[in-house]
């Protein structure tokens, strides 16, 4: 749609910007502040991890960045687009065009095959069956699952399911991929495979990754580790320089 396509946010060089965002969940008459004023900038091509104890607001922040949930106050700017200005339809379009999600529990649709799951975001945009099949198959090949294309999630191992989910997140060539404990449900060998693939995509395509994790093995691979505590950024730690990717 015009709004998302015509603006040229990439000039800003920021994939994600949050300005003093808060999120308060109200249960009954009691307010639970999940985020209490988070301001951060994530550059295009950055590989960022968000760590912190349970209840620190990691997933809440990820949902705000993913345009799944509006902040109570503050602003979220994705790829130069202020989310406050978008209605439900345009938020959906933004998610479809610019954001990919990878979840701990994979979140694949069980009755669909691997390739059908990967096709789902393309179906929403009306890509022809032929075009989306070939793109999806390419994507599955890239994650090493070409031969599993016609299997359903129940016939796949956890690691394979997560790779299908990654293929689904990347098939739209998003600017940002958000991972909520993407390696939380897979063994350490698969974790390393998934991580090396993420690093590879980050380097070659310049895709921005924001990964919420508990796992130091994951956070150690990233450029920057943002630690949240009680809904606030406790510290930010740069581990690597952002270099050697071709994107931007």
């Amino acid at each position: 749609m015009a709004l998302v396509d015509k603006e040229s946010p990439s000039r800003a060089g920021l994939a994600v910007q949050t300005i003093d965002v808060t999120k308060v969940y109200r249960v009954g008459h009691i307010d639970y502040p999940a985020l209490r004023g988070v301001t951060l900038k994530i550059a295009k091509g950055e590989l960022v991890s968000i760590v912190g104890p349970s209840g620190s607001g990691k997933s809440t922040l990820l949902n705000l960045i993913g345009a799944l949930d509006p902040p109570t106050s503050g602003r979220v700017i994705i790829d130069g687009i202020d989310l406050r200005k978008l209605n439900q339809d345009k938020l959906a379009l933004l998610r479809n065009l610019r954001i990919g999600f990878v979840y701990q529990s994979f979140n694949l649709i069980q009755r669909l095959t691997s390739i059908e799951n990967v096709e789902m975001p393309l179906i929403a945009r009306g890509v022809s069956e032929e075009a989306r099949k070939s793109r999806s198959l390419k994507m599955l090949s890239a994650v090493g699952l070409r031969r599993q294309a016609n299997k359903r999630p129940t016939e796949l191992s956890g690691g394979e399911q997560q790779r299908v989910a990654i293929a689904r997140a990347l098939v739209t060539q998003p600017t940002i991929v958000l991972g909520d404990e993407p390696t939380g449900n897979v063994d350490s060998k698969t974790t390393r495979e998934v991580l090396s693939y993420i690093v590879q995509v980050n380097k070659t395509l310049g895709t921005t990754f924001v990964l919420v994790t508990h796992n130091p093995e994951v956070s150690n691979m990233t450029h920057r580790v943002i630690t949240l505590k009680d809904g606030l950024i406790e510290k930010e730690q740069y581990l690597q320089r952002i270099d050697s990717y071709t994107g931007m």
């Binding site: 933004l94 479809n96 999600f101 979140n107 009306g126």
Partner: protein, 416 residues
């Protein structure tokens, strides 16, 4: 960037297929509703059309007069106290104002047999020259009408001469044997002088299964002076009511006068009420099906809460999600409507075969054989039975689909 309609329906089909039993049960509910409406409405309008066709043959200016006592005693076995119709009654009624002609007749159930054929039919003795006045549009297929003074001469209905499913057929000047039912169980032999054209039913009689002999022959062969009934023909259709009143006031309850036109209009009002009533039964069953769809859809939306969350995360717009769920309902409606229409089509012929028209109800001395009728399918009715279930399904699916589209993505993704 719009989702393709074909993709929406493919996904809907996969979703329905995933829950086979539930989908099938929902669709069966729709099918029954659609089938019942189609079958019942087609049958009752078929019944109504059948009656109209029959009254067209009799003519609106016809009355039948029969002895009141005989109405409940078929086959001419009248009780002693019942009134007997004679030539004197013919003359009396003829003298009434507005009466153009009175045609007396004898009638008795009979089994007509020749070669390997045996047909349950009727013997009617009547002035054969009046035959074509009584039955409009009736004609001779071959031969001639029996001569009044030849007691062995007869004309037979089309089905007697050419029975379905039999290779033996009748030709002119062939002998046939007739065994009378009722009290006089004697066997008579006739020479076929004429074969009548195919005609069909007239209210109580099937002309195609009737053997006609002259009035004089019947009088001699049946050994009776008393007529089974009188056909009264009035000058105009408008005279029917006044003539009926005249006859009734003259004879009181001794005779029974039947006015074909008014009887048909009574039957028609019954059938049209029946159409509404039966149609409503179908409507109610479709309503029940609609509740079923809504229920199924709600369960489906609940179960797939997480899937809805996934769709939202993948960038499906609320309208698209609503469309996806709604198309599942539409698909159920389409399958149910098509299936129901086919089922209803078949069902209406079963009803047509099982429901006798005027079964067990007829004037004296005539057969009470039942008849089948052909259901009437108008394009409007077919369209209705195809499209109405779809409309019902859409309405039933609207609210659950809307609920699905309004779900909060974050909450939906956390749903276990």
């Amino acid at each position: 960037m719009q989702m393709r309609i074909s993709d929406i329906f493919k996904l809907a089909f996969k979703a329905l297929r995933d829950r086979k039993l539930r989908s099938v049960l929902t669709i069966v509910g729709i099918m029954i509703g659609s089938a019942v409406i189609l079958a019942l409405v087609a049958s009752s309008s078929g019944l109504s059309t059948g009656i109209q066709a029959q009254v067209g043959k009799i003519g609106a200016n016809t009355l039948t007069v029969s002895s009141a006592g005989q109405f409940f005693a078929p086959g001419g076995s009248s009780g002693t106290q019942s009134y007997k119709l004679t030539q004197q009654d013919v003359n009396t009624i003829k003298s009434f104002q507005g009466v153009s002609d009175v045609i007396p007749y004898y009638s008795q159930r009979a089994t007509i047999s020749y070669a390997s054929n045996s047909i349950q039919g009727e013997l009617i003795g009547v002035d054969t020259s009046a035959l074509f006045t009584m039955y409009r549009g009736l004609s001779l297929y071959s031969g001639s009408l029996p001569d009044s003074y030849d007691p062995s001469a007869a004309a037979v209905g089309y089905s007697i001469a050419f029975p379905t499913g039999s290779s033996d057929q009748l030709s002119i000047n062939q002998m046939i044997s007739t065994t009378l039912g009722g009290s006089t169980s004697s066997s008579l032999t006739f020479l076929v002088k004429g074969i009548l054209s195919e005609y069909g039913r007239v209210l109580f009689s099937n002309i195609d299964e009737t053997i006609f002999i002259s009035l004089q022959s019947a009088q001699i062969l049946l050994k009776t002076q008393y007529f089974s009934g009188l056909y009264v023909i009035t000058d105009t259709p408008a005279d029917v009511t006044t003539v009926q009143q005249e006859i009734e006031s003259y004879y009181g309850t001794q005779v029974r006068v039947m006015n074909a036109g008014s009887m048909v209009s009574t039957v028609e009002s019954i059938t049209s009420q029946m159409t509404v009533f039966l149609g409503s039964i179908g409507g109610v069953s479709l309503f029940v099906a609609a509740v079923g769809i809504t229920n199924t859809m709600f369960v489906s939306v609940m179960e797939r809460t997480r899937e809805i969350g996934i769709l939202k995360a993948l960038g499906y717009r609320p309208k698209q999600i609503m469309g996806m769920f709604l198309s599942e309902a539409i698909l159920s409606g389409v399958i149910g409507g098509v299936g129901g229409t086919i089922l209803g089509y078949a069902l209406s012929f079963i009803i047509g075969g099982a429901l006798p028209m005027f079964g067990g109800f007829g004037p004296p001395g005539q057969t009470r054989s039942s008849t089948t009728f052909t259901p009437v399918f108008t394009p409007e009715l077919i369209a209705f039975s195809l499209l109405f279930p779809i409309g019902v399904a859409v309405l039933a699916g609207l609210y659950p689909a809307w609920r699905a589209s309004r779900m909060n993505a974050v909450v939906a993704l956390k749903y276990e």
